[in-house]
Symmetry: D3
Subunit: 293 residues, 6 copies
């Protein structure tokens, strides 16, 4: 029997404690960035999701789609403005957002997962009245972002129904307001709110970075609330990483066991993070304990 | 007690036999035409669907969206050709179809129904691998319609899961091929195939006509297979009504109890057809019995 | 499409919010008076009960039968005395009461409901040890009313079993004492006690009056505890209406959402009260809120 | 340890094989005669029924009430005629029958059983539309027996619902016709039809005799179809025993395992027949096997 | 009908209140002593257990096996030492203990019960990780008893699974330590701990004595905590009876309704104790109430 | 990201199709030989079993224990004779067999599996009356093998109960005869009979060989009934391999999908056989199809 065969056996065997620990647990994954573009990364992501489901966990996918939205807006000749990183979203733009996120991107991910043996079901927050939203309160006085919203409430009945029947929910981050109006919501926030509401085991944010880095550029593999406060104070955490870290932290403060900011540019990043000790990013807990997962 | 109050009581009371007979039965509705455009008709449709669900039936909505697709194609400056009434659908066009049907039209109907107290869930045939499709075999030699498909198989697990939990499925007529490729399918056909597969009680096709008319323009309220054969032979049934009648007939030959071609331009057409003896169109059975419903 | 058809549609449609609100809720109905005698009223009552069940509510019928008891007593030549409106009930009289209520009246109502498509099951309080009773404590010193009782306890297991299987319980107001002895109990009180114990949504008392009237003879459509206190103080509520109002009020103070004193002489009074905004009597709540049902 | 204690232990222990064999099985008991009159016999009957239920069987009681009906008819001064042993039953008489059987006798048995710890529920064949009846076809040309009927169909849903929730059904032999009219049916026949429909293990007919006797007056402890034919031919089985034996035989020919014609004048006759080898009457099988129970 | 038949009926009938009271309740029985050796006692024990299960209770058997262990140790020529009544148990001895208790004695009891119609399942505390044990803390300084343990925790999942499916658990008193090592535990203690953890109705300790005797040698039929304290103070309870009484008392202080120290030398002792008023030993409660069972 | 990490990911990912295909399927494993002796092999076996259970399959372990039996027989000074490879087993020897297999070996395997996070439950064929046996019919006239038996019937209720609650059955190959007598049965046969009765997906026989070899000593990786017949004819399959192959073949002829004769001397042989394409032995099917698993 070759060395290689025993290696295979050992690697499979080492996944056992993770499979046991996370059996029946919900894992909410924000899917985006390169992992949604690169063909090899897309396939490895789909396999990972299907594998997690197959071994008894309940993965839920929330996706973004900024670049695809921009592409389509361009195509229809609609110009939009960004203020403080948020796209001002009028009714016509919102229509494009819904078409692209709900009609195109969402269903492509569904197809991708089903093509690898899963039973994915694509949803927007309108389905089953799942994501109730409200207009964001503008930080800039005088700016009206239009249909940009934030999560007001999550109604998890639909997701629970689907999970119980071996389906994998894939969710576009669109919310519905009091009057039935649509809102575009940041996908990280939707993922975080879902994870909190469902009492998820893990919130996994897939990014185009290696994770949170220190000032020397080294990966910080584990962080807790106190450490995060320091790193924000001394400017280590800044820019685009700031809201990701805040989202990750808020989830664990709301009962999610662990949040993970992982490197979506790595093949099988999700599987490695959940089923092995080979973490590929930064783990966030409310309090760092000696035995980090 | 005014006459009017007694009238109210009597009318409600007269719905009882229908409610009892159709309890727990599935009713597949093809929603389209004016009923999807006119605000008053939209509201009355939504109320009807929610009422049918509330009194114990299982309505399933399948919708079209041709005009909305044309509008968006125009907006992005994409020209398409129709051959024998079918839009030649290249990959780029299919992308628009999916965006419009799955992202926009589907979710608007979901919102509409939820706004009247239902719990609708929007799906395309990709979700849960529900509608397996194949490319239509072209009648015209040499014509390639691209992504125009027909139903190859229905996998009803997802719909059954949703029905059992008081959700109302709303389905965009998009199918998925062997290689995961998308197909645009005629919505009537999808509704018919679903009704057959689910052993539905009724298939209801909402149209912009009064139903099937005889040569004098009078409504034919009930038809069976034999009568339909005659009416096709003598040219009474022709044009756009032909495929509708075929679809209605095929469903009843496949086990659906009755098919209905109804006038979607009438407020509450659906409710009137299902819960009263005031039919608003043509009923199709495999054999006409003396006591027509 | 005629005006009339649209009227039908609108009326059915307007029942929707009531059907949704009361889905799965228990509605205890005291059935008696003219509604139990007049053939047309009997039929409309039966239809109403069956309709409420068909659309998802759980009606429970409690009936009286004073006139039928008197008739049979007369027939067997048994004379009885009334003191303060209560029939002094010796053992022989009680035997007649049980025969008439449990054997005759109860089963006629069962037959009536089943004849309209329901699945009624006739019960007395002895069945399943459902209504535990005790002898009423006589207000008049020295008077022994014999087998006249009041509710000591309700054991709802049997009713719950039947409700869960789509049966409609029809209950004769006979209770059973500590030693297995029978008691004749006021049917309003039994209905009220059942409604309280079951956490019913509604207690509906069908009477031979239009409801509670003010001194000018106008119907009072809504009353709360405070208003009732006033109306009793100033003598507006008096006589036979007094115990009805007390019964209605006690139920809402014990957790029933609303009590209704309705006009059983109106065809479909029950249906109108539950499924429309055309109330046919007086609604009693613990506190009147602005939006009266 | 005294002899007596060991006797107790042995006797209890000997019931074990019967308890195991009949676990979860239905036993339909026709209750009548002295056992319904004598106070000691009544108590022992009630204890037996409750014990059978407690150890896991499903007893169902069907009762008669001829003497009580006659008594009440006399009291109301109503004269009736018997032709060939059947009471000619006009509408007024039927009303008395229903009052006495359904209102009085039925509920007394319910009370009796509940007083010994059971959870009995009294029913007539109208409840849950359980016993469908038709008028008997008169043997005597020209005689109209009025409301005397026979079983047309048994709808066992209600009995099944009650059995599943530890209730003991007690059934008055009143059936309901196509038009909702009432029929008085022979209680043995009702018990037999119920036992057949429910696939009962046993049909037990309690009588005022020791069982079937031979010409010398000795008890015949076991009979099969062939033996019964002989005994009828040679006149051993005759008179009132004839229909009992026919009823017992018909049940076993319709799938009931054994029928029993037992001596209801013996205390605990039911318990002895079911739980011991001390049979108290005649056992009827379709074919007598060597090991008679 | 002979006297004897009525006696049989009466005795069966008198078991009813016990069957009703203990329906669905768990009864943990420590089985040992003569009852495990004498053929007649073995049979009567097996019948009793099967009967209790058949009438709806949940018996659980815990057994010892000291004599059988000694016999096998002798056979393999292994000498062991007793200090303060406990066998010093090295690894080799423990192996014999497991073989004898788990492989031989346990399966003999299983066979015995199954031979009388039960569905017994033999288990040791290792199965389903059921009995977690720790090494006893030695009272004698300097003595190492080796693999003699005490209960650290009971994990009742396996027992619950078996009970729910009509199986009868038969348990060898072997526990498993933190490192997977085996411990021999006193069977009374295991029975007591199981009874407490399962919230049993009864703990029954079968002994080779008549029960707890007073100084005159008369049986004490009922004891409470206070009385036990006195009897220990004045030396009435002493020697081998001391730990039995302590075990019985601890169970009732931990929520078991009653403990019983019964005379296993009496045929059907178990059945007599549970199903009759002919107790065969001493009942222990936390507080003696007037109406002792 | 190092090569190694991607290797880990790929290997895990490649197990997916096997996990999906065998979800909820039963896999009966005959455990024996070196894999039961070598410490490293024991650990890898336990991990494999727990992993298969964790990812959704239902492994059932049947074990032998010949060497341990011989050891103990020697220790107690009991001499036994082998005729044609079968140990003549008198009553005393059978007692040792039961002690060793049921008390020692069985519980060690339970402990081993539980120590790796499983919930194993050790059983013999007596438990739940699971394995009914009969004495083998001796091939040699005049030889009485005593308590050597073969499977007469499998009663799978107990195994099904345990599987449904996430327990892993571990079964000693002891059967019980008509009179409750014990039989020692070949463990391969027990495993095969269980697999057939349970409609298992796989029967895996762990051996001390590489599998079935051809005459050149090369492994035959796949065999069907026809090939096996040839290989037996030409003497390729002979000796101890003969009954193994027969057992494997009989199982697939009785409905088991595949049988596997694998090399138990390889670490993680079980896991490799079930979850990878790196088979470690010979696969037996009723008919070899082109695409061997």
């Amino acid at each position: 029997m070759s060395e290689s065969t025993q290696q295979v056996a050992r690697i499979l065997s080492e996944a056992l404690p993770y499979i046991q620990r996370f059996h029946g647990k919900t894992i909410v994954i924000k899917y985006g960035g390169n992992a949604m573009v690169d063909e090899s990364l897309k396939r490895s992501f789909a396999k990972d999701v299907v594998l997690l489901k197959a071994v008894g966990m309940n993965p839920i996918v929330v996706h973004g789609g900024g670049p695809q939205i921009s592409g389509t807006l361009e195509r229809v000749g609609k110009q939009t403005e960004f203020i403080d990183g948020l796209r001002v979203t009028d009714a016509e733009t919102m229509e494009v957002v819904e078409m692209v996120l709900g009609g195109l991107v969402n269903k492509e991910i569904v197809s991708l997962i089903n093509g690898h043996g899963g039973k994915a079901v694509g949803l927007s927050g309108k389905d089953g009245d799942m994501i109730k939203a409200r207009k964001i309160s503008s930080a800039n006085i005088g700016v009206d972002y239009g249909h940009v919203g934030e999560v007001a409430d999550i109604r998890p009945a639909l997701v629970s129904t689907l999970e119980a029947d071996r389906f994998i929910p894939v969710i576009a981050p669109i919310g519905v307001g009091e009057q039935g109006e649509s809102y575009n919501i940041n996908a990280d926030s939707v993922a975080g709110a879902l994870a909190s509401k469902l009492g998820a085991e893990k919130l996994v944010l897939m990014t185009n970075t290696a994770g949170v880095l220190d000032k020397q550029g080294n990966l910080l593999t584990g962080l807790d609330a106190q450490q995060i406060a320091h790193l924000k104070d001394d400017g280590t955490i800044q820019g685009g990483m700031m809201p990701k870290v805040d989202c990750a932290l808020e989830a664990v403060l709301n009962g999610v066991a662990t949040s993970h900011i992982i490197d979506g540019r790595v093949n099988h990043a999700l599987l490695l993070e959940v089923l092995t000790d080979k973490g590929v990013g930064t783990l966030v807990r409310s309090e760092v304990r000696s035995e980090l997962v």
